[in-house]
């Protein structure tokens, strides 16, 4: 048999290959919902050709094979199949000519959409899957801060795909929480330089302290939040749990950490949308979001308005559906998931678990509290017509490492040059919380908080003024000692009043 085969893409062709490569070649495997989703996803990203790499040794499968499958009586193979997807049509002879160093061939990175490893198992065959995320469209901008380059070598041809790995849960060595953890730890492994465990290693770490009522393998009882936390600690990270019942806060917290490149694990209850019957609990790895047409509104009555409330989709690796599956939020914050009407489920989040580097000590809740308190005072001053604000501020809160933030400031065209350079030259901690006050899309000022500081400390370290009018007025208002004493941010404005009030027009426009 040749080492490869080239097949024109169609969802049916994908389904046939998946069936053929499963152990026992059961047709039901190719008809599974997640295979259907992958066929639909690959169609939507305009896949034209599949290259089937018949023999592929996959590190994660091999770890699980060595730890578990090899000791079964059935003779499960140790090698996998890898399917590569291209957005260009080409034939087997054209692919062969590419291997023969043809000058002009279509097997190139620009056309490469990623790969799926097929595990030689009876049912759960979707192994490590690295596909490009959804592209932006005219009416929808999508943000996937976690994806990064995954190098691929296809018979000597170097390719790469920007992705976060996904794989289907294996009910023997892994449950859905294991798959979500595996994806999330791929994201943090590259970011925080820790070892990336295989599913079997994650399940072992998660169940190391479990009691006798739960078997580790085969893992049919799933994992709870404590076990997920144990698995996160096993790679040297610290788990942070955030209550998920308020869907604005879930969006805010998830997006806040995602923007620093940190994926989150969302634990939810699932209800069948049609019958409203509880289906069970599920875990997904949140890896992207999309700001839709939802209007920003306060998270509770008369409270701070967060921009995260306009997120109408969180994208996640959901092993029940597939990679980059959408959790859709409606205007009331209700969440639904499922890639067709028949499979729609209602999502009721319980907890968001964030795997964090130990130096990120200040949680998002602390910053939200500070922003809510400051916003409350600014609202009082606005109501008294002491600030030139016609509408309430909209707050954008997120974590950033200082390199990302500096790059953003370096590229900023909104800041006067002198101010931009002075901020670039300043010393900041490795991780900072950023809180941007906006009116519409216009940035008014950006607050920086030290994310590595002590909980008992103030954390506020700097402010970057964008709008000269508002910042000048804030500086003047903060000249009053009673107002200044309310919040450190007012004290900062007062301390910088010489720069902000003296020549506002020049500092805003003069030296860009």
């Amino acid at each position: 048999m040749d080492a490869f085969r080239v097949v024109p893409f169609s969802p049916a062709a994908l389904s046939e290959i998946v069936t053929e490569k499963s152990f026992g070649a059961s047709p039901s495997v190719g008809r599974k919902k997640n295979v259907e989703y992958l066929g639909s996803y690959l169609s939507k990203v305009e896949t034209k050709t599949i290259v089937v790499e018949h023999t592929y040794i996959d590190k994660d499968y091999l770890e699980d094979f060595a730890a578990y499958y090899v000791r079964c009586f059935a003779d499960y193979p140790k090698t996998c199949t890898r399917l590569h997807f291209f957005s260009e049509e080409f034939s087997e002879s054209e692919f062969r000519s590419a291997l023969e160093h043809a000058a002009d061939h279509p097997v190139e990175n620009a056309n490469y959409l990623g790969f799926i490893v097929l595990k030689p198992l009876p049912d759960t065959v979707i192994g490590r899957t690295c596909l490009r995320p959804w592209k932006d469209t005219a009416d929808r901008k999508r943000v996937f801060p976690i994806v990064c380059d995954v190098p691929v070598n296809l018979f000597g041809i170097n390719l790469s795909v920007r992705s976060l790995p996904f794989q289907e849960q294996d009910t023997d060595v892994a449950a859905c929480a294991t798959s979500a953890l595996w994806s999330a730890l791929h994201g943090t492994g590259r970011l925080f330089q820790h070892q990336i465990p295989s599913p079997v290693e994650i399940t072992k770490a998660a169940s190391a302290h479990s009691r006798v009522d739960d078997r580790s393998f085969p893992n049919r009882n799933g994992l709870n939040a404590f076990q997920i936390a144990d698995a996160i600690r096993s790679v040297g990270l610290e788990p942070l749990a955030i209550r998920g019942s308020d869907t604005t806060m879930v969006r805010l917290a998830a997006a806040a950490y995602l923007r620093a490149g940190i994926p989150c694990i969302l634990l939810s209850r699932l209800h069948d949308a049609a019958s409203n019957v509880e289906i069970g609990r599920h875990a997904v790895a949140v890896n992207g979001y999309s700001l839709g047409n939802l209007k920003p509104k306060s998270w509770t009555k008369n409270a701070t308005v967060f921009r995260a409330a306009t997120i109408d989709r969180l994208y996640c690796h959901d092993d029940q559906i597939g990679p980059y599956a959408a959790l859709e939020f409606d205007a009331n914050g209700s969440i639904s998931a499922g890639f067709d009407k028949a499979s729609k489920v209602e999502i009721l989040p319980e907890n968001l678990i964030v795997p964090l580097y130990h130096k990120i000590r200040i949680p998002v809740s602390t910053i939200i509290e500070k922003v809510a308190a400051l916003d409350d005072t600014i609202e009082t001053l606005r109501a008294a017509r002491l600030l030139p604000l016609e509408r309430r501020l909209i707050w954008d809160v997120y974590l950033n490492d200082i390199a990302r933030l500096r790059t953003r400031l370096f590229q900023s065209e909104e800041l006067p040059t002198a101010l931009r350079i002075s901020k670039l030259e300043k010393s900041y901690p490795r991780y900072v919380w950023v809180a941007i006050a906006r009116i519409g899309e216009e940035m008014q000022f950006m607050l920086l908080f030290d994310a590595t500081d002590l909980l008992q400390a103030e954390q506020f370290i700097d402010c970057i003024p964008f709008d000269a009018g508002l910042c000048s007025a804030l500086a003047v208002v903060s000249g009053n000692p009673e107002i200044r004493s309310i919040n450190r941010v007012f004290a900062w404005f007062e301390a910088h009043s010489n720069e902000l009030v003296a020549t506002p027009a020049a500092s805003a426009d003069g030296d860009k």
Partner: protein, 62 residues
């Protein structure tokens, strides 16, 4: 970007005078209320983000 002029109600000197007058008048009560409501806002955020311990032991099985 809003520009400040000497005729603007937000011109520095005029604004400062208005701020001081406001704080001396009804503003003081407003500021006291703000300090209390800021603390309530903090508490509300804390309450909504504080983990419900009972949910942590729910196994995720799907």
């Amino acid at each position: 970007m809003a520009e400040l002029t000497s005729h603007d109600e937000f011109a520095p000197a005029e604004l400062r005078a208005r701020v001081d007058a406001w704080v001396e008048g009804k503003g003081r009560k407003e500021l006291d209320r703000t300090i209390r409501s800021a603390e309530k806002a903090r508490e509300a955020v804390r309450a909504v983000l504080r983990v419900d311990q009972q949910t942590l032991s729910n196994p995720v099985t799907l």
